[in-house]
Structure formats: structure tokens, C-alpha cells
Symmetry: C2
Subunit: 217 residues, 2 copies
């Protein structure tokens, strides 16, 4: 781990069997369009949406999809990775824009919205499809450091208790979201914010003479 700047392949996509090979510009454009279109279609119609529909809306032939994503599940996995990246990347932005406690709260809400919207996630992870094999590791690799940073500065600022790890918080919230599928995303948000309130309750220093009436949502 001596890399000073780890590449999380946000935009570029590295393909099986073509390691290090540069993709042609038009192909890369197709890939981007495909991922964006697929994300939109999955969001509205679910991950079971027909491949043909995505190809049509993206303006390409079905063959193009299969050239870049050999299996239908590879496309789904790629979209998930994109959304994980977006969620992780939101952390430093929020940290720069808000004070530590508020940044943490907002990020957790963002995380909840991400998970709660993906009713296909649990299905995918337990399908046994090898395309999803690396997804849990990627999920953890990207999201845990993101939350850890927020958690640590909030703890340093005394706004939050310091004895809860990013890993268990990530897992607990995900668990709540999965369980709240039956109830809808409102329930998930409420339970998650209850959890964060719990974090605040056990902080070293209570709100004190801080502007404590800053909650609206």
C-alpha cells in the first residue's frame, strides 16, 4: 500500500482479457452511455428490465452490450460499482461543505437513499452469480474508508461517541434498509437517523453551547 493515489476506476473500465489495452474512443462513449442508460432503466423498471430495452434507449445494438458486458449480470454489477463510487465520492465533498456532525448525518442519509432504492441488491448478492462475487469487497473497500473519515472527525470534534466502527455502522444501516423494504424507504430513513442520534447521545461532549437547533431535514 505505497500508492499515493489509488485508482478506483471511477470512469475508466478495465476489461477481462484486455488488461492494459486502451479502448477506442467511440467504444468508451458507448460504455458511458450504456451505464447511464442502464442506471436510469434499472431505477424505474428494476434490474429485470430486458437487455433490448436498454440497448434501444441507449441507441446501440444488443451486440454492443454483450461485447462490453459478456453477461447481463456484468452490466448490473458495473452499474452498482458506479453508484458505490458516487456514494463514496460524496463523503469528502460533504466534509468540506459542512461541520463534522452535519456531514456525517448527511452522508448517512445519502447512503440510505442509495441502499433503500436498490431492492435488487440483496437479490443480486445472493444469486450466486460470479459477476457479483467481487461486489461486497468493493462495497467495503470504497465505503468503509469514506465513512471512517467522517466518523473520526465527528468523534474528534466531540459530536459523536468514538466507540462505534465504520464497518458495524455500515452493516447496521444496510441491515435496517433491507429489513425496511417491506415498509418503504421512509422507515429506513427514520431508523437510520435514530441510529445516528444514538451516536450523538454518547458523545464525549454534549451539544453544550452550540447552535443545537440546526435540525430540519
Amino acid at each position: 500500500m505505497t500508492d499515493k493515489q489509488e485508482d478506483h476506476d471511477h470512469s475508466g473500465v478495465e476489461f477481462r482479457g484486455h488488461p492494459g489495452r486502451r479502448v477506442r474512443a467511440d467504444a468508451q462513449r458507448n460504455i458511458d452511455t450504456l451505464l447511464q442508460t442502464a442506471m436510469a432503466v434499472f431505477a424505474t423498471s428494476g434490474v429485470d428490465a430486458p437487455v433490448r430495452e436498454i440497448a434501444e434507449k441507449a441507441g446501440v445494438g444488443v451486440g454492443t452490450i454483450y461485447r462490453h458486458f459478456p453477461q447481463r449480470s456484468d452490466l448490473i454489477a458495473a452499474v452498482f460499482r458506479r453508484e458505490i463510487d458516487a456514494c463514496a465520492d460524496a463523503a469528502p465533498v460533504l466534509a468540506a461543505q459542512h461541520e463534522p456532525g452535519e456531514a456525517l448525518v448527511r452522508w448517512v442519509q445519502r447512503y440510505v437513499d442509495f441502499i433503500a432504492a436498490k431492492r435488487g441488491l440483496a437479490k443480486a448478492l445472493h444469486s450466486g452469480d460470479p459477476a457479483f462475487d467481487t461486489l461486497p469487497a468493493y462495497f467495503k473497500k470504497r465505503l468503509e474508508p469514506a465513512l471512517k473519515a467522517l466518523l473520526m472527525s465527528a468523534a474528534s470534534a466531540g459530536e459523536v461517541r468514538p466507540d462505534v466502527s465504520a464497518e458495524e455502522l455500515l452493516g447496521a444501516v444496510a441491515s435496517l434498509c433491507m429489513h425496511a423494504f417491506t415498509q418503504g424507504p421512509e422507515q429506513a430513513r427514520r431508523m437510520a437517523s435514530l441510529l445516528v442520534d444514538g451516536l450523538r447521545y454518547g458523545a464525549n461532549s454534549p451539544p453544550k453551547y452550540k447552535k443545537a437547533a440546526r435540525r430540519k431535514a
Copy 2:
């Protein structure tokens, strides 16, 4: 609720559009065979197994399946209801065969095995398919009283703390099982038994001078 003996339709199947109509003997035999075959196939190949495979193994035409179960999901739901029934019916049997604490432990294991084996359950419940709409209610209606009886007599015997409801225990264990899908059913069993040990720990009267070395599993 003045019925002295509620009918939980264990064996008979009541059909939409034919309320009260008796089914012919050969049809009933087909239904039973179908449910048994489907249960076996789902267990080995998962709930995505082709309808044709089930029809073939049951020795009937596909049309026969669709006559009794208009949608594929109706067959899945029927199999689930059967297994829920079997699990609920195991409670009084265990209660008659073992002392209260042991009966409770054994039933929870049975329940875990039921849930942990059904990786299709979460998928089904969140699919939005109307065939599964009544399943959660049926689940609760049958399983909650079954567990409640075990829990109450174990609590009366002082083997278990009395302040945990059947509903929350049922939910907690199911939650553990769902979450343990990634790890396999072993993890689920361990966490569930930990939970029951927790119930025991807070009992009114500790093991005392009871034959406490009765655990083997």
C-alpha cells in the same frame, strides 16, 4: 373469533373463483404431488427452476400446473405456505416431547433451518408479485402463536426471561438468517442460539438444581 378450531387449510387447497367447491379426487392427488415435487425441486435448484422440469418430475402436463396455479408465483407461494404450516405444526409436537426450555430451543433451530434454506424468500417477498401479498400475514398468523405458546411455558417454568415477545424474537431470528445468507446457515444457527442463550440468561430462576448438562445438539 369464536371458532373453537380454526382451519388452517393444511392439506386442502381452496381456489380462487371456486369457493366451497370440492375438487375431484384425481385433481387433489395431482395437487399434492405437484406441491411435493415443487418443494423438492425448489430446494435443490432454487425457486427459478423451470415449470417444465417440475411438471415432468411430477408426471403431469404443464397445463395441469397452470390449471391449479395460474401463475408460477402462485405455486411458489403455495409451497411456502405448506412449509410455514409444517413449521408451526412442529411446535405442539416438540412441546409434548420435551421440557419447555428444550422444546423452545429445538423449535427455534427448526425455524432457522426453514428460513435459512429459503434464499428465495426475501427475493419473493420484495418482488411485488401479488401472489405473495398475503404471505407475510400468513407467516405471522401461523408462526407467532406457535412460538408464543413455547415461549410462555418456558417463561412460566422460569427457564427464560418473560419480557421478550414472540413477534420480536421471530423478527430478530429471521433478520439474522437473512443477513447470514452470505455466510451460510452455520452462522445463522450460531447467532440464533446465542439469542436464545440470552433469553435463558435473564430468566427468573437460574438453572438451580436442575439437570443442566442436557445440551448436546
